[in-house]
Structures are given as C-alpha cells and as structure tokens.
C-alpha cells in the first residue's frame, strides 16, 4: 500500500457532545487531518446499522460513531442504544468481509476537543495501517 493513501473516514457525531467538541477544536485551532468527514446527527442513537453499512458501501475506509459519555446523553438514554448496537454491528462486519476495526465507537463530550482530535487522529492512523477498503474483497 502506498504512502500517499489518504483514508476517507465518515464520522457520525451527535449534535450535543461530539459535534460541539469538533466545533471547539476548530475554534481552538487544533490541528487535524482532513480525512474525517463529519455527519451531524441529533444523537448517536440515530445511527442505524444500515446507515453504517451504506457508508462503507459508499466508499468509506472507516466509520467513527461518536456520542456523549454514558450518562451524559442529551436524550437521557440514546447513547445506551448506540452502545449496544455498534459492538453487534462489528461482529456483523467481519461476516460481511469488512475488518471490524474499521468501525469504532467513541465517547467525546463537548468539553473534550483535545480528545476529539486525539481519537480521530488515532483512528486515521489505524485505517491508514489497514489500507483502503477494497470493494468486494474479504479482508
């Protein structure tokens, strides 16, 4: 795999925590690569498995689902659903021939702009190491 591989990562961010953290990171002029493509959802619980799969199909090399910390959900319990769904989905991914490491769930609160940068950079590194998701090939 080439050094010039630039992974395309779709990050689902909840409106209240992670999206705000990303915003703050931006306001704070924190350096981050452009590989992360943000999709704002109201709650991480809005992210259905189908949508993640459609994202991979649409050509993403990795998917990040980010929401509030457990207990901090703006909708009380939306992220509890996410916390159940995403691990299940990871099992399903390998069945579908996609390395489960390409999907990650992370909790980033609105106050954690540095953590947002850290999590995304770390994920970019992981995906960069995994290489591009080759369509139709079982990994």
């Amino acid at each position: 795999m080439g050094v010039d591989f630039e992974p395309r990562i779709v990050a689902f961010m909840c409106n209240w925590c992670t999206y705000a953290a990303a915003d703050t990171a931006g306001v704070s002029r924190m350096q981050q690569p452009p590989n992360v493509l943000p999709i704002r959802v109201m709650c991480s619980g809005r992210v259905s498995p189908e949508m993640v799969l459609r994202t991979f199909r649409a050509g993403a090399d990795g998917v990040l689902v980010m929401g509030c910390h457990i207990g901090d959900c703006h909708y009380n319990s939306g992220n509890h659903r996410t916390a159940k769904r995403i691990p299940l989905l990871r099992n399903l991914l390998s069945y579908a021939g996609i390395n489960p490491d390409r999907l990650r769930l992370a909790w980033v609160s609105s106050a954690e702009a540095p953590r947002f940068v850290e999590v995304t950079n770390e994920f970019i590194k992981t995906i960069r190491a995994l290489g591009p998701l080759s369509q139709g090939v079982t990994e």
């Binding site: 959802v41 709650c43 619980g45 809005r46 259905s48 949508m51 993403a60 009380n76």
Partner: protein
C-alpha cells in the same frame, strides 16, 4: 419587684434575679471566674464576693448565688470585699501563676507575684467547674466531673480515660476561663470550611449577606448531635442560642424540606468554591496560622470580623511584612490550568488594604498582572504608587522559619534570579474552581461541563448564557471565573433570556421530529420502549405506532431501530444522511 441599694444607688430587680445579675445589668463591675449566664450559679471561685447588709447585719456573700431580695444594701467595693478578693486572687495566682486571665485580675488588685508559690507552675485549671456544669447542664453528656477532693481535686472524664461519651463538642474549651482544656481533633474536618478560627455550630456563612442570617450546622450543633446520638433520648441538650436570642428566632424543629415549584425556565447560578491550597504543599498552608488565603484575609479585614477589621497576626501583633502570592492553584499544571481571573485585582485590593491599615511592607509575587477591566489598570498603578513591591515571578515556596517568620521564595523574572523575602504574613491568592457537586447539578439539568469543570454554555461566542437544554440558562461564575461586573452582566443576560422565553408564553420546538409512516408500520412496538420521552404511543385500532410531535425531541433512536424502516426523523432522514455521506465521499 425588689428594690436594692448597690454602692449607694437604688436599683430594681426582677423576681428570681441574683445580686450579680442586677449589679451587672446596672453597670457595676464585679469580677467572676466560675459564673456563666447560661449555667446554674455555683459559687466556687468566690471572686464575686460583695458585702451584703441585711437587717443590719453585714456579711460577705457571693453575688452570683445571692438572691436579690428587697431591701438589701450591697457594697461591691468596700474594704473587706477588696481584701477578700485580693487574698483569693493571690491564692489563685499561686495555683496558676502563668494564666494570663488570673495575672490580669490579680494585677487589678495589686498582686504581681504569686504569694504562695506551688511546685507546678504550669497548672491552668482553677476548678471553677464551668466545664463540668456545661457538660452536665447543657451538653448533657456528663463526661466531665470532679474527682478527688481538696487540693487534689481535678477535672476529667471517668478514671481520666478517653470515653466514647464525649462527643467532642468542645463546649468545655470555650467556657474554660483559663484555657486549661485543649481539644485534640482525631478526626479533623468539621471546622474546615468555616470562617477563620474556631467557630460555633451556629454561624453566619457570609458576613455581608443580606439578610445576615446565621445557620445551624447540625453536624456540629450539640443539640442535634446529642439528639441523633441518643436516638432522641437527649432531645434538649444545649439550646443556648435559643436562650439568648431575644427575638425568639431559633427553631430547632425546622426541617429540611423539598419544595416543588413548577417553572418554565431555570437559571443555574451555582457559583464557585475556593480551591484548597493545602493540596500544594510548597505553600505550607496549615503549618502556620499566619499563612492565610485571600478569603481568610477578607474575614480578617472585615469590620464585622473577629478583629473588627484590624489586620493582625495570630498572636495579636501587627504584621511588619506581608507577602501576597498570586496564581496559587491557577495557571498551574499541578492544579488548575486556567486563570481564575479575579485574583490579580483582589490581591491588589488587599495589598492596598494592608498599606492602608498597617505600616507593613507588602510584596506581591505575580506572574502577569491582569488588570483588564475598566479602571483596573489605573488601580494597579495607584497600588504601585503606594509602595507595594511588585515581584514578577511565581511565588514558589513558603517556608516556616523556626522563629515563626515566613520565608517566601520565588523567581524574579525581571532580574532573572531567585529571590526570597522574610515576612510575618502570607496571603495566598487561591484559585476559584467549580463547586465540588457540579457534576450532580449537571446531571440534573442535562448540562455539559468544560474541561475546567465549569458548566459549558451552548456556544462560547454566540450563546454565552444558554445551555444545550432548552430553558436552562447560566449566570455568573457557574459558567467560568468572573469578577463582579462580569457576573452582573452575565446574570442580566441570563435573566433577559429567561424573560424572553417566558414572555412568549409558548415555546417553539424544533421541527426535527420523528414521524411514523403508518403504511409501513408493522405494529411491532420496538420503538415504544426505546423512546426516552414516551413520545410514541401505540394506536390499538390502527395497529400502528404514532409520534406525539410536542413530546418528541428528535433524537432519532427510534428511527435507527425500526425494523420496518417505517420511522423517519425529519431533517435527518435516511435519504438526507445518505446523500450527505455520498456527497462527502464523492471527494476523491
């Protein structure tokens, strides 16, 4: 009503009053050591002796126990009285030669040296029994009593051993006139958050609060503690505050209660707390009574405080040098990284106060002088003109010298070298931080907190008083450190936001809600249990789920879960999101 003549002056007494009470009420001075107005008279020290002339017979009697009967003639300063008091004070001074209160009283009667010296000059107890009576009559713990008799008499718990009966209320140490009782705190802490110095269980939390109302700390209050400890068996301990409160304002039966109020908006203005400088040992806080925090300096300097506003050292002297250290706990990677914003200005004010009230030299160790507000810079200049020595550089360490002096070490960044000054008093300008229970408040209102622990506003620039929870606003230092003008402005803004919301009388909800396509809905009810707002109900006759738009907050959890794909989140429909995904991934 009885009429008496005291030192030639006619005075009146109520039924049941003693001669001492009447005399003191009329301004006659009678010395006492074993008397306390809240305790039964005891008549042990005999200092309050007066000459009582009744039916032509003159006798020396203790005024604290003698009933103020009609027709008595009292002489409080006749030669036999003075002579007897002098002899008694001589005896007491011989017993306790090193007790200041005895020394002073004895001096009033012309006695400077103990006339009958004893072997142990360190004795402090004069056996006045105040502690014993307090423990018995008020605290009702009956821990202290006398043992032995005569000159061997002593005060202590049974067998002079530590006893669980002692609740450690410290009342005995407070009534003791000679400081003979010390309290050893095995479990420190209950006095920790109180104003400077030992405090009672009833205190005024903020000296300049309006109304200035004291509170009872039920964890420290003898009455409450005895009641709790004995499960109500001793329900009437102490109560001194009730006895002395002329307004009858003390009500022990008042209970904490939960008041439920229906409101449309909430302003969170929970403020801040002072950071505890004992966490950084280099400042030696707690190792010398003359190392105080800025807040403690405020208590000291307050005209209503314990020194009536005089700035004094613990031993009562005036300080000759005072150091003020900025940024204690602020701008520090080992404590709080943020700037507490208010310290520079209050430190300057305190430097000004020291200069104003004493002749002490003042040294300010500062990192940067943040005189950012209106008129602040001018004040900074004025303080400099007052002769305050400004040392640019963090005050790094405070050392308590053997003679009690305090050595402040730091770097003078301007000179580029280490400096130290020896001072009498150090004021630590400590950081302010979010209250220790901010996380509970946050959970209650669904608030986020910034890295610094303060509550996060909805947007750092555009929405400084709103939160992510509709109808909940922030005011003051709950949001971030603020000085008074900033707090007032911020609070005003929060109030206007709340008022604006209330003025509308109705709320506009987000259009981003979920809707069920009833054609597709299979009636599986998966969504119903998922909804945190019970916004989805099942319609039996149509065998479909339906969303109440007023309740739905639009989180979309149900959308993601619907097996039939029958629910859509408006403005966040699958199609829209997928379009976005495809859009962003279209970038090559």
């Amino acid at each position: 009503m009885a009429t008496l003549i005291i030192d030639g002056q006619e005075v009146h007494a109520e039924e049941g009053q003693t001669v001492l009470e009447v005399a003191r009420a009329n301004g006659f001075e009678i010395p006492t050591l074993c008397y306390h107005p809240q305790l039964e008279p005891y008549g042990a020290c005999r200092l309050c002796i007066v000459e009582v002339i009744r039916r032509g017979r003159s006798r020396l009697e203790t005024s604290c126990t003698y009933p103020a009967r009609d027709g008595l003639v009292i002489k409080t300063k006749s030669p036999p009285v003075i002579e007897a008091r002098a002899v008694i004070l001589g005896l007491l001074l011989s017993r306790c030669p090193n007790v200041p209160v005895i020394q002073e009283l004895a001096l009033e009667y012309g006695i400077t040296e103990p006339p009958f010296p004893v072997e142990d000059p360190e004795e402090k107890c004069i056996l006045c029994g105040l502690c014993v009576r307090t423990c018995h009559e008020l605290v009702k713990a009956d821990v202290l009593n006398f043992s032995q008799r005569g000159i061997e008499r002593r005060v202590g718990p049974p067998f002079l051993e530590k006893t669980r009966q002692c609740i450690g209320c410290g009342a005995c140490t407070i009534v003791c006139p000679t400081g003979a009782i010390e309290i050893v705190l095995e479990q420190a802490g209950i006095y920790k958050e109180k104003p400077l110095g030992p405090t009672a269980a009833i205190w005024v939390p903020s000296l300049q609060a309006v109304p200035r109302v004291p509170v009872i700390d039920t964890d420290a209050c003898i009455r409450f503690r005895q009641n709790d400890r004995t499960e109500g068996e001793i329900a009437d301990a102490c109560g001194v505050c009730q006895m002395v409160c002329e307004a009858g304002a003390i009500n022990f039966d008042q209970q904490d209660e939960v008041v439920e109020v229906d409101v449309g908006t909430v302003i969170v203005a929970t403020g801040f707390q002072m950071w505890d400088p004992a966490q950084l040992s280099q400042y030696s806080y707690g190792k010398s009574p003359n190392i105080i925090t800025g807040m403690e300096f405020e208590h000291l300097s307050n005209a209503g405080g314990i020194t009536s506003g005089e700035i004094l050292l613990a031993d009562g002297r005036k300080p000759e040098q005072v150091a003020i250290i900025h940024c204690v706990g602020s701008r520090d990677h080992n404590a709080h990284e943020y700037c507490s914003r208010i310290c520079c200005m209050y430190s300057l004010k305190q430097a000004h106060l020291v200069r104003d009230k004493t002749d002490a030299a003042v040294y300010e160790f500062y990192m940067d002088m943040r005189a950012f507000g209106k008129g602040y810079e001018e004040f900074y200049e004025r303080v400099q003109e007052e002769g305050v020595v400004m040392i640019r550089g963090r005050g790094a360490e405070v050392e308590v010298l053997p003679d009690g002096k305090l050595r402040v070490k730091g770097e003078d960044a301007n000179l580029g070298r280490l400096v130290y000054v020896d001072v009498d008093m150090v004021v630590l300008s400590t950081a302010i931080e979010a209250p220790h229970d901010a996380n509970q408040v946050a959970a209650l209102f669904g608030l986020s907190r910034s890295v610094d622990g303060f509550f996060a506003e909805a947007h750092p620039k555009m929405r400084p008083v709103e939160t992510n929870t509709g109808g909940v606003f922030l005011a003051g230092a709950a949001q971030a450190p603020k000085d008074v003008p900033d707090t007032v402005a911020h609070a005003g803004a929060a109030a206007s936001m709340a008022l604006a919301l209330m003025d509308q009388g109705e709320v506009t909800i987000s259009p981003a809600v979920a809707v069920v396509d009833e054609e597709l809905c299979s009636g599986c009810k998966t969504c119903i249990s998922l909804c945190p707002y019970t916004a989805i109900s099942f319609i039996e006759e149509d065998n479909v789920a339906r969303v109440n738009e007023a309740l739905c907050k639009g989180c979309g959890t149900c959308v993601a879960a619907c097996p039939a794909g029958a629910i859509e989140a408006l403005h966040f429909t699958d199609e829209q999101i997928v379009a976005q995904i495809e859009g962003v991934l279209a970038w090559v």
